[in-house]
Amino acid sequence: MRTLYKFHGGVHPPGNKTPSTQQPISAAPLPAKLIVPFRQHAGEAAKPVVQVGDHVLKGQLIGEPVGFVSSAVHAPTSGTITVIDMQPVAHPSGLPDLCATLIPDGKDEWFLREASDYRTLPAEELRHRLRMAGIVGLGGAVFPSDIKLRPLRNHPNKEIGTLILNGAECEPWITCDDMLMRERAAGIVQGAEMLRSMLEAKEVLIGIEDNKPEAIAAMHRAVADGGLPFEVVTVPTVYPGGGAKQLIRVLTGLEVPSGKLPTDIGVQCFNVATVYSAWRAIAHGEPLVSRVVTVTGNVRRPGNYEALIGTPLSELIALGEPLPDTDSHIMGGPMMGMPLPSTSVPLVKASNCIIAAAKKLFPAPPPALPCIRCTRCAQVCPAELQPMDLFWFAQSKNFGQAQAFSLFDCIECGACSYVCPSHIPLVQYFRFAKSEIRMREQDKLAADRARERHEYREFRIEREKREKAERLAAKEKAAQAAKPVEPPAVAINPDATPETTAQMKIQAAIEHAKEQAAAIKPKNTENLSAEQLAEIAEIEARRARMREMAKSDVEPPKE
């Protein structure tokens, strides 16, 4: 039995997971229209590679990755791309983003699927395939997985000792990973072995919270069936035990230092759903075109659905049969999720759960009161921060201090807001401060670039001036040196300064061009009928007249 460690803080919100685990994952019906955003991953948005009107097959690339941190986007089913434009997406801003609208043809016909054995492929090729299959972290961060699988050359810690599979799923209401582990444990375990071989990790730990006994049993079975030396570890249920840093701490006792990545301490962590889709991508050649999503909350039939990326959320919510008093919707869990601007937005790779919310389930928070410095937030903060101080700095826009107090170590888990007796929306202040700081850093970079360019331009102008002056001086000198040698009588043109010769040359060139122009006759006027010739003459005459008129128009001085 492995010794487990504890991370600091944590809370125990009611789980509410049972209702949505009563029925197996079912496939959501094919919607009438799919809206596929090109930005579904962290980093640069994908670049569209299809045009309006194109017929695409299921799994065909429609957006290719641009830049290092980016991923691909695929057609979720076969059909026709009817529009590529800005559509509302699931983003806290409610702003639209570039999406492709696909009208399915109902055949659900796959594009070429190349199944392969990962053991026969080099890691480099596997990474490329994962990138082109659009595999990103399905736990919610949607960070491209291929980047997390890079070899650690030029790195102080040159190898990954431990690969962790994150099946903790600590957030209340969400059960998609739970159901996936129950039903598709074999694929997850095989995927884990594939990732392990890519990373050359020594051990694999699968962390699952103890509120999912069925999933734990299923994973145990799959590991035993596969004959693999993986360890399925039951971890205590505490929010946010599924945070990467927290799970690493619980399983290994290692602390990821502030501002560092897990790889810096020789650990890498993947969500179980990500591992499963990576396995599908390589072993079955299926890019990420669907995901399991929990539909729960104020609905009659909560459950998990395997839905195509791009399915309008309203159709998924309808599958759960929402109760009439549903008044809003949350994407993600109640702790870290976000209110949806509208239910017409499409399902994206990051959508793990959709909660129909009603007042009786999620009562509106009472108005915020001043902070009484009770330090309860600091007691529960898993990142061991001082949220009340961070709040103070964020509220007064004292961003420098907020950063000095490790604002960027905050994982936005919401545990502090959850316990705050004054109901202060602490996380919102932290998000505000973080995005403000990020923006400022960007502005600063832009300003530095502008300064550099401006200084270079001044330098260039200065240099051009100097060079011109030098050239002139040199010419003058040469002219003066040349004069006494050259007997005036021999000179063709006695006052030929370099400038006038240049002008003469230009004049000569212009004349030559004119001669040439005159010599060339219109090519298509040879065998024309008399009628046509007369017409041409008439047109020429008209043109001449107009030229005359234009000239006389210009001549009178304007006042």
């Binding site: 505000f432 995005s435 923006m439 300003a447 360019r453």
Partner: protein, 189 residues
Amino acid sequence: MLSALLVMSIIAIALGAVLGYSAIKFRVEGNPLADKIDAILPQTQCGQCGYPGCRPYADAIANGEADINLCPPGGEEGIKKLADLLGVEFKPFGSGAEPKPKAVAFIDENTCIGCTLCLQACPVDAIVGAAKQMHTIIASECTGCELCLPPCPVDCISMESIGENLENWKWRYPVYALQPANTVGRESA
């Protein structure tokens, strides 16, 4: 008595010499205060402050010749930072010097006659083109200074406001007071 005076004056002369020497030897190139001020200024290089660029304005502030509230692109934030740095009171903008929303220049490429006049006006070389060739703007480098607008003889340059998109969107400052409780989350998000 005399020897004491002598010793003191020798010490004074020696220290004076050291100070004088180090003043020459360790002389700081440029003006460090102006550098700090320049680091705060937005580098739009628009000249709205009345100086031919950010650096000259920074020099003028450092020399006490200019006020701190003359740079509209820097916004009130900029004034606050300058006030902090210089230890003076915050001053609001004077009339007519309000900051504008961020924008980049856009050249209507069908109208451009390739006169190169805008090219010469751009302080950050954000316009590419050559004589009689269509010109275009490198949007990522354009600071939005508007200096290229007046020289264009065919008025083909316009300023396009950048607006809010998913790349530059920021979380709002949470506002809670005096709002119906059920819209709180949405309004502030």
